[in-house]
């Protein structure tokens, strides 16, 4: 009846109990607060069933922030363990628990923080920038979000029921195979990544069609903002890469569930096949995380430098250069596979080539700033931090692309420091920059600058403290995922510095929380009444902050790059009569499918097959019911639009 699910699933050590308990209490607290405020109905109508891209984007960012805190706590636990567990002492985390933590940390940060942050910003901003009223497929967008969230839930559920994988976030077989990991941990990882991956895949289709089909009149390709170009390149990567992950994980699932032997060495399977396919997705994935960030910088660096972007065309070519090459580098993740000198040389050279378009982009931003009237608002601080840290990370990446060096560095802390440099310095810093840049657009008031700067300096110093020692430790031979080492190695001081760095980063996060709190307190003072607080250049700033649910009363017509800037210079404001607007109605189908997928995946994890079948049927049924809905749209009449527009600029 309940498959493998028994009371043993609830047996944990005290640290896990504490984590699980705090999570349950936190969740109950939130529910109690919502009930107390009588906001359930509001939550359901305004957010859960909403198909408005802006609200879906906000929900993505919300989930990403929650997961970021969770992932940071994981990181802090690992670093303190490593600072303590030396020689005679074995720290406070058992090996089993430690390996779950580093797996959960990686999975959380890549799939739920990185993807969530990137998709969140894209969701909110992209349709506004192309002058569209919504996505190409608004309901599909809601389905994507709820699948993403369903995937994230497994990481939290596994804290309480059962265990998470202990294989590392990439779950290589044979370790992740049935023989060495018969328990539920790897299954949790599988369903978490699979379900959120399908969500991302659907988002990819949705955004590609939105960009190619929904641009406002006049916005030809060469007049699109660079952020839109960046998202276009990203979505091409999503479309080509994510199906490989889906297939790869599906085959790992059949290996574990149906006893196929695809990745089972010794039975005619080939574990390296998993690893090849995994990185055929995985390497494009890291560009999926960074290209939109390049787009974000290309938006706000010109705005805060009061200049137009330097080298628009080369920026676009660089984006597509990276997109193309990103599919030819996957083998550099396992030069040690032994593919032979020539194959390794090819992939090494391809990897080095990525540095060229990336360098073009960094120089273009710097040239944009050159002789500009630079306004060092918080986003610009994040950008400056990005340049330093990301370039360091990029250069160490080029170092490791030399196969002979990689043989030394493979799986060492040097590698860990490298990819944290590019992911924290790139994706996270860029997300924070974009978040403070677009925050007034989303919520109607700007963020506090003082606390923003404090948060930035904590993050920057914390980052340097936490990861520069790891470069050194890597040179000294420390491998990643180490929960104990000998005192004679002399690594302990560096590990202590690294864990101090993690504490400073946490201070940065606390500063960000304070920043948001202070800004909400002072929201009247910080209110953005014009809709254009930074003297922006692109169309999203032509709407009031926050934008109305239909984004634009009149679909804008564009004749130049930096369309809004041009409109402001020429003072051309077309006065046209209002028109009827078609908007999609709210739909609960996304939420229902997301939750059914979550329960269904849980059923597969625990081998409760009847429940899994019920959930699959439920998903198909809800899709059929959705297909039967003949009136998915509503019409906002010209008159209603006029009434709303008259009262615009007034905050709710």
């Amino acid at each position: 009846m309940f498959g493998r699910l028994g009371e043993l699933a609830l047996k944990h050590d005290w640290i896990e109990y504490a984590a699980g308990l705090s999570m349950v209490l936190g969740g109950m607290g939130v529910c109690a607060w919502v009930t107390y405020q009588k906001r359930w109905k509001w939550l359901w109508k305004e957010y859960i069933t909403s198909v408005d891209h802006k609200k879906i984007g906000v929900m993505y960012i919300f989930v990403a922030v929650i997961m970021l805190v969770k992932g940071l706590i994981d990181a802090l636990m690992m670093r303190t363990q490593q600072a303590l567990s030396v020689g005679e002492s074995f720290g406070y985390l058992g090996a089993e628990h430690f390996q779950q933590i580093f797996t959960a940390h990686g999975t959380t940060m890549i799939f739920f923080v990185g993807m969530g942050a990137v998709l969140g910003i894209i969701n909110v901003i992209l349709p506004l920038q192309i002058g569209a009223r919504d996505m190409a497929f608004p309901v599909l967008n809601s389905i994507s979000f709820w699948l993403f969230t369903a995937g994230g839930l497994y990481i939290l559920i596994s804290l309480i029921i059962g265990v998470f994988a202990g294989t590392g976030w990439s779950a290589y077989p044979p370790l992740a195979g049935l023989k060495y990991n018969p328990g539920v941990g790897v299954d949790y990882w599988i369903w978490s990544v699979q379900i959120s991956g399908i969500g991302s895949l659907l988002s990819g289709i949705n955004f590609l069609v939105t960009i190619l089909k929904m641009r406002c009149p006049g916005m030809t390709f060469k007049k699109m903002p660079v952020f839109v170009w960046a998202v276009l390149a990203t979505m091409m990567l999503v479309i080509a890469a994510f199906p490989i992950l889906t297939a790869d994980i599906a085959m790992l699932t059949t290996d574990r569930l149906l006893n196929t032997k695809i990745f089972t060495a010794g039975s005619g399977g080939n574990p390296m096949m998993f690893i090849n396919l995994f990185w055929a997705w995985g390497h494009p994935e890291v560009y999926i995380l960074i290209l939109p960030i390049f787009g974000i910088f290309s938006e706000f660096v010109p705005v805060f430098s009061k200049k137009r972007l330097f080298g628009y065309t080369s920026m676009v070519w660089a984006l597509f250069g990276i997109t193309f090459v990103s599919f030819l580098v996957w083998l550099h993740h396992f030069f040690t596979m032994g593919a032979g000198a020539n194959v390794n040389a090819f992939f090494g050279i391809m990897t080095m080539i990525v540095a060229i378009p990336t360098g073009v982009k960094v120089f273009n931003w710097l040239f944009t700033m050159y002789r500009g009237r630079i306004d060092f608002k918080t986003p610009m601080l994040w950008f400056m931090g990005f340049v330093v840290i990301f370039v360091t990370g990029g250069m160490t990446g080029v170092m490791m692309s030399i196969p002979a060096i990689d043989f030394q560095m493979h799986n060492s802390l040097f590698l860990v420091a490298h990819f944290h440099s590019v992911i924290i310095g790139g994706t996270l810093f860029g997300f924070f920059g974009g978040f403070s840049y677009w925050f007034p657009k989303i919520f109607g008031f700007t963020l506090d600058e003082k606390w923003g700067a404090r948060a930035f300096w904590c993050w920057l110093i914390g980052f340097l403290l936490a990861f520069m020692p790891l470069y050194l430790l890597g040179f000294m031979g420390a491998t990643r995922r180490l929960n104990h080492y000998e005192a004679s190695n002399g690594w302990q001081p560096l590990f202590i510095v690294a864990s101090l760095g993690a504490v400073v980063i946490i201070t940065g996060v606390v500063s960000q929380c304070i920043q948001v709190y202070v800004s909400i307190k002072k929201r009247r003072e910080y209110r953005d009444a014009t809709g254009d607080p930074w003297d922006g250049r692109t169309l999203e700033w032509s709407t009031p902050s926050p934008p109305l649910f239909y984004n634009f009363a009149h679909i804008p017509e564009v004749s130049e790059r930096d369309a809004f800037w041009e409109m402001k210079q020429r003072d051309t404001w077309p006065k046209k009569p209002y028109e009827d607007i078609h908007m999609p109605k709210n739909s609960s189908v996304g939420f229902v499918i997301g939750m059914l997928s979550c329960i269904g995946g849980f059923a597969f994890v625990w081998h409760i097959f009847w429940l899994a079948i019920v959930c699959i049927c439920g998903i198909i049924l809800s899709l059929i019911i959705r297909l039967g809905n003949k009136h998915p749209h509503r019409i906002v009449t010209a008159r209603e639009v006029e009434t709303i527009e008259e009262g615009k600029g007034v905050l709710k």
């Binding site: 190409a136 497929f137 895949l201 990819g204 289709i205 949705n206 590609l208 069609v209 190619l212 089909k213 929904m214 479309i239 080509a240 890469a241 994510f242 199906p243 490989i244 889906t246 297939a247 790869d248 599906a250 085959m251 059949t254 290996d255 149906l258 006893n259 196929t260 032997k261 695809i262 089972t264 039975s267 005619g268 399977g269 080939n270 096949m273 396919l277 055929a280 078609h582 198909i620 059929i624 297909l627 039967g628 003949k630």
Partner: protein, 203 residues
């Protein structure tokens, strides 16, 4: 009901036109992703093809004649789905139903043939648990079978409103997608037929 001679496609409003072209294009992109997924499965099959663990290999196990029959059944199914698409665009309800019905029957037949082929293997004791080669074969073909089963279900779901009323615009849009999906499956099958069955003897 509209004039039977005029396609819903020709009398679309501007908004509907946008939605129509978005959906069709989006579906193309979806098919692209499905191609990529099959590409991964093909890659695995090609890599594992020779790993038979001293069991019988493709040459001994596969029945080329049965594969040919399956291919023909599937190809005719696709021919009919093409016809169905043409009549749907011309807003001819009966013929659309007829040809989609024929597609449904032929593809059900195909699925039955495919499954009985797999059952023959299982009865011979050659299951997916035996070797890397058989695992990859079963995974590839079964994934295809699941796609066909899904398309059959989808055909029923889409034809119900056509049976009841006529070919409304939203039906047309979905029927065109369905037609594309059947044709996509056909292309995948051509690859399966060539790589798995025709090249079975290549060492």
């Amino acid at each position: 009901m509209r004039d039977a001679k005029v396609s819903p496609h020709q009398v679309m409003s501007h908004t509907d036109q946008g939605e129509y072209s978005r959906t069709i294009f989006g579906f193309w992109v979806y098919l692209l992703t499905d191609f990529m997924m099959f590409a991964a499965l093909f890659a695995v099959y090609v890599v594992l093809r020779k790993n038979t663990l001293n069991g019988p290999g493709p040459k001994e196990l596969f029945d080329l004649r049965s594969a040919l029959v399956q291919t023909l059944v599937l190809l005719f199914g696709t021919f009919f789905v093409g016809m169905a698409g043409v009549y749907a665009h011309r807003n001819k309800r009966r013929k659309t139903l007829l040809y989609f019905g024929l597609t449904f029957i032929l593809n059900s037949l195909f699925l039955w043939l495919m499954v009985s082929d797999l059952r023959r293997l299982i009865e011979m004791g050659q299951t997916w648990k035996n070797s890397g080669f058989l695992s990859a074969y079963f995974t590839l073909v079964a994934t295809f079978g699941v796609h066909v089963a899904f398309a059959l279900l989808w055909t029923i779901v889409l034809l119900v409103p056509v049976l009841r009323g006529g070919i409304e615009l939203f039906s047309l849009r979905r029927l065109v997608c369905l037609r594309m999906f059947w044709q996509f499956l056909n292309i995948i099958w051509i690859f399966i037929f060539s790589i798995v069955y025709l090249l079975r003897g290549i060492p």
